[in-house]
């Protein structure tokens, strides 16, 4: 009995400590949300207020007056097209081929993809910019889309390979007997079966591209072509930043990815580990 009480107290302490740590980790996020609905005089006051005294949408109106809607539209356009191309058109057939066929050079391909997944983007940014200048792909949606497909393809293939291993091969055989071509099998049989996995991977890919800053910064120079992260960096870089507006823009930028990451969390971790272990 005594031991039980001791065990209960110990458990309670663990729970309290865990949630204290979580509270500290979430506080900056909470502070961003609260600051985004505070008026300027409350933001620039020397007292700490955990809720807004005079709730206001002023900051959210402010970001749209500053042309933020264009950044959002650019981000949605570039990220959704590159995600669709990457996952459904390029990664899906490639992952299918690697997981179903045996062919010479296959392990080399897997190794190369592992390397490219680790490859630092900062080293690529100079040569890619120079290339894109030659082909007139700077300030072009197409240029940024190509870039985003390239940087997300290795990871998508890894995740899909792991997923395909859980789909039995007899399904392919049955489709072949019924007269399906290989492409038909992939897009009419495999795609629908693996759609939960595909959606999770597509969500992750979208989030990666939505968050991407370096290529968006260098490849999109005209203001009306910029994406959300670069737009926020612009707000941030102004000499005296309007912090309410910066925080409102931050909330808008963070909401989609936070929701996406929360939903696909479990699948994602398995994929990350499988991808890295294969390397």
């Amino acid at each position: 009995m005594k031991k039980n009480i001791l065990g209960n107290i110990q458990d309670l302490v663990i729970v309290i400590v865990t949630f204290l740590v979580i509270g500290i980790m979430l506080f900056p996020f909470f502070w961003m949300v609260v600051s985004s609905v505070k008026p300027p005089d409350e933001l620039l006051s020397r007292s700490i207020r955990f809720v807004s005294g005079q709730f206001t949408w002023r900051n959210y109106k402010g970001i749209f007056e500053a042309g933020f809607l264009q950044f959002i539209l650019n981000s949605i356009l570039v990220c959704s097209i590159s995600t669709g191309l990457c996952v459904y058109l390029i990664a899906l057939p490639a992952a299918y081929s690697i997981s179903r066929y045996k062919f010479p050079g296959k392990s080399l391909i897997v190794v190369i993809m592992g390397f490219t997944q680790m490859f630092p983007w900062i080293i690529l940014v100079t040569p890619v910019f120079m290339f894109f200048c030659i082909f007139h792909l700077v300030n072009s949606y197409l240029g940024l889309i190509i870039t985003y497909v390239a940087i997300t393809v290795p990871f998508s293939i890894y995740m899909l390979m792991g997923y395909f291993e859980t789909i039995p091969k007899n399904i392919d055989d049955a489709a072949a007997i019924d007269g399906c071509s290989t492409l038909g099998t992939i897009f009419r049989v495999i795609l629908p079966i693996s759609s939960p996995g595909l959606v999770a991977i597509a969500t992750y890919t979208f989030a990666i591209t939505w968050n991407e800053f370096l290529f968006a910064l260098t490849l999109m120079i005209q203001t009306e072509k910029k994406t959300v992260p670069v737009g926020i960096a612009n707000f941030l870089g102004q000499y005296s930043a309007d912090w309410g507006v910066v925080m409102a823009a931050s909330v808008v930028a963070a909401i989609p990815t936070v929701i996406f990451f929360t939903i696909i969390q479990r699948r994602l971790v398995g994929g990350l580990l499988a991808g890295s272990l294969k390397q």
């Binding site: 729970v15 040569p127 989030a207 963070a254």
Partner: protein
């Protein structure tokens, strides 16, 4: 057929990663400005860029910043904190109160925040006059003068450390957690029957089994952090002065601010060489022995 299906992916990767890397090496041997983009060719000057870089005394400060402050310190803290937090989240106490699912979702949130937003939040939190941290510390009576988190050389690395650890810690937590869950519970039960206490189980069962996963997480986040650009660039811009300049920001600075594309490419090549050497040493020293066990 097998080749046809991988071909689009392979062509894209070859163009984007391999071809670009080779072009980067070519650029590093040239004197070329950002405005010589029509042809993409400058004046061939051999290894002059490399000589200039290696003779620049500032370069070694930048190298030390990158290796020590940006990478080693934050990676070690993330591994230690990540492991500790994963142990907490995996504890039976949370399962008893049915809180493990909720706690996992919550701890993951900072990783969903875009890096640019993470920088914005922390710049505001650390604002010298109206930032939460300064106000809080002053209200508690811990400090009397505000701390200039972004401009004072004594604390600026701590500020960068905070934003990186805050946003990147969940990745370490979640991967360690996945590792902990793969440890068979029978092992712990057997050890308990043999009389091992919690600490002994941790030391003799959990830690050895988690060694390979730790090696991989350590490697991945080291490479990612070593090459990181966005945190330092947006947080301090490498300042005050050159105090927090790192290799990632230096590449961007030379290529896109000073328009010296050849010189920027040279720094990229040096970074690649450093990483290759690091990768070989790391796997020889750490990874292979841990796999053999």
């Amino acid at each position: 057929m097998a080749y046809t299906l991988v071909l689009p992916a392979l062509a894209l990767l070859a163009f984007f990663f391999i071809f670009s890397s080779l072009y980067n090496v070519e650029l590093s041997l040239q004197k070329i400005s950002l405005f010589q983009t029509a042809t993409g060719k400058g004046e061939f000057i051999g290894f002059k860029n490399f000589v200039e870089l290696l003779r620049d005394p500032n370069f070694y400060g930048v190298l030390r910043n990158t290796a020590l402050w940006l990478t080693v310190v934050t990676v070690l803290f993330r591994l230690a904190l990540g492991f500790g937090l994963a142990l907490l989240l995996n504890s039976t106490a949370l399962k008893r109160f049915r809180l493990s699912g909720l706690s996992r979702v919550l701890i993951f949130i900072p990783w969903g925040v875009p890096p640019v937003v993470a920088v914005a939040i922390w710049k505001w939190m650390l604002h010298s006059r109206y930032g939460f941290l300064n106000l809080f510390l002053q209200k508690m009576g811990l400090i009397h003068q505000p701390i200039y988190f972004l401009t004072s050389v004594s604390v600026v690395w701590i500020s960068i450390f905070m934003v990186i650890v805050w946003r990147e810690l969940p990745f370490a937590v979640i991967t360690f957690l996945a590792g902990l869950q793969s440890v068979p519970s029978e092992l712990h039960e057997a050890a308990r029957i043999d009389g091992a206490n919690g600490l002994q189980q941790l030391w003799y069962i959990t830690l050895p089994l988690l060694k390979p996963i730790t090696a991989i997480i350590g490697f991945m986040i080291t490479i990612w952090t070593f090459n990181n650009f966005v945190y330092v660039w947006l947080f301090t811009g490498g300042g005050p002065g050159n105090f927090t300049q790192v290799l990632g920001t230096k590449v961007y600075l030379e290529s896109f601010v000073n328009y010296r594309v050849g010189y920027g490419a040279t720094i990229g090549v040096i970074m690649t060489i450093i990483m290759v050497i690091f990768g070989i040493v790391y796997f020889k020293v750490l990874f292979q022995p841990s796999l053999r066990k």
